[in-house]
Symmetry: C2
Subunit: 280 residues, 2 copies
Amino acid sequence: MAKEKEMVQVDRILAAKEDDYGGVTVEMTNEPLDPSVFASLLRASLSHWRQQGKKGVWIKLPIELVMLVEPAVKEGFIYHHAEPKYLMLVSWLPETANTIPANATHRVGIGAFVVNERNEVLVVQEKSGRFRGTGVWKFPTGVVDEGEDISDAAVREVKEETGVNAKFVELLAFRQSHKSFFDKSDLFFVCMLQPLSHDIQMQEREIEAAQWMPFEQYAAQPFVQGHDLLRYISDICSAKMEGRYTGFSPVPTVTSFSAKKTYLYMNGNVRTTGQQRPLM
Amino acid sequence: MAKEKEMVQVDRILAAKEDDYGGVTVEMTNEPLDPSVFASLLRASLSHWRQQGKKGVWIKLPIELVMLVEPAVKEGFIYHHAEPKYLMLVSWLPETANTIPANATHRVGIGAFVVNERNEVLVVQEKSGRFRGTGVWKFPTGVVDEGEDISDAAVREVKEETGVNAKFVELLAFRQSHKSFFDKSDLFFVCMLQPLSHDIQMQEREIEAAQWMPFEQYAAQPFVQGHDLLRYISDICSAKMEGRYTGFSPVPTVTSFSAKKTYLYMNGNVRTTGQQRPLM
């Protein structure tokens, strides 16, 4: 689906782009279309694509064209995924087992362990969420945006919540949890960052308070010590500060399939032998 | 949204469950409902929830009730997410900034490095996908199911594709890539597994060939050596076999918020001091 080859525009059928997997994608413009006209166009198009041996047929419907959802479903389409402004439907034409790609299953979040040369850690109190009003000081956390690198998200969240500039150092650990919202899962990455500035400028909308705090004081909070996961993370951070821990570092790699640069997160502390090409 | 408190059933409004975030979720049964009746019920319900100071209103519509999507959108709902059999819509009632949770953004996949005592690695050739017909031998790979632990997914995929029973050992590295399908991202975890059985029973539907191959022979394939990411992964596996590499191990932790068991993946090879409680 990623790359699009050519426009297929035949009279009386829907305009569609071919994909690399033997399928086509219909991208509807926002212009209103009568549902019965759409249904008739869709039937003719499906017949045409079936003759051509097409496999997956995708229709991306902007929310403005909500009136076309029902006719599409009546022609055998099912939902694939949705975002606030559009719904993606799909229909698998051949008799063979469908190879429609799975929908996204995970939300990705980060927690930022920002520690300065005096072993002070950057902590916040949030205005909403489960920690609201508890007096608990926590690391800045946030959700990784669509298309955003984990390392970039950590830097961005720290800047947004506290105004502090920081540099990504290492990914220390991550947690996978399930049914975090509805049936979806969650991956939460604990990232270590090095501060590049000191002064705090708090984001008023989300943050109640922010400060630099001696790490020991953060770790000694009863809430941290009484909470299995937070205690582990605190222990990892402590081990890291004392040079007893190695997490994963992002290494840029190029995927020849797509020529896109992507990050491989790996242990950078590899003991290489003489014969071995260094990994980093 | 995760936990539901009580049923709110008032005459002439839609049945809805309250959530922990000041919102309500309407779960429609599959019974047909006239769109205009639904629209009128929905208007009365929204008015009621607004008076109650409710925030997010969620409607989960089974695909059988596709005729109710349009009336919901006309009453101000937007799409949140969709799966083949349902569409989730949401509307944020108050004037305050919305705190609707982000949709899932990532698909999660695994690659399984299964290596036996003779330094032979389990490799396959696939019947479809980008490697089809290339003669390239690759690690078994697959998609992590909704609600499935990464470590379980690796064991399952090896069993499904090759019939080999294996035990999860360590997570060696992972790659994050973007726009893998439409606008969604991908997290691909390289897992090391220890085989518990030897005989191969190939899955005919997806797999063209499967065998145990000396690791050096796998790594020497021109495709692996010519491909940035695969060469890195091969180097990591090689370093791991020689005891020069440490990845992340899953540690079960309990989140007191929800009492759910979740895995924290961390470097288990922590040099602990005398005073320090061991992490593992």
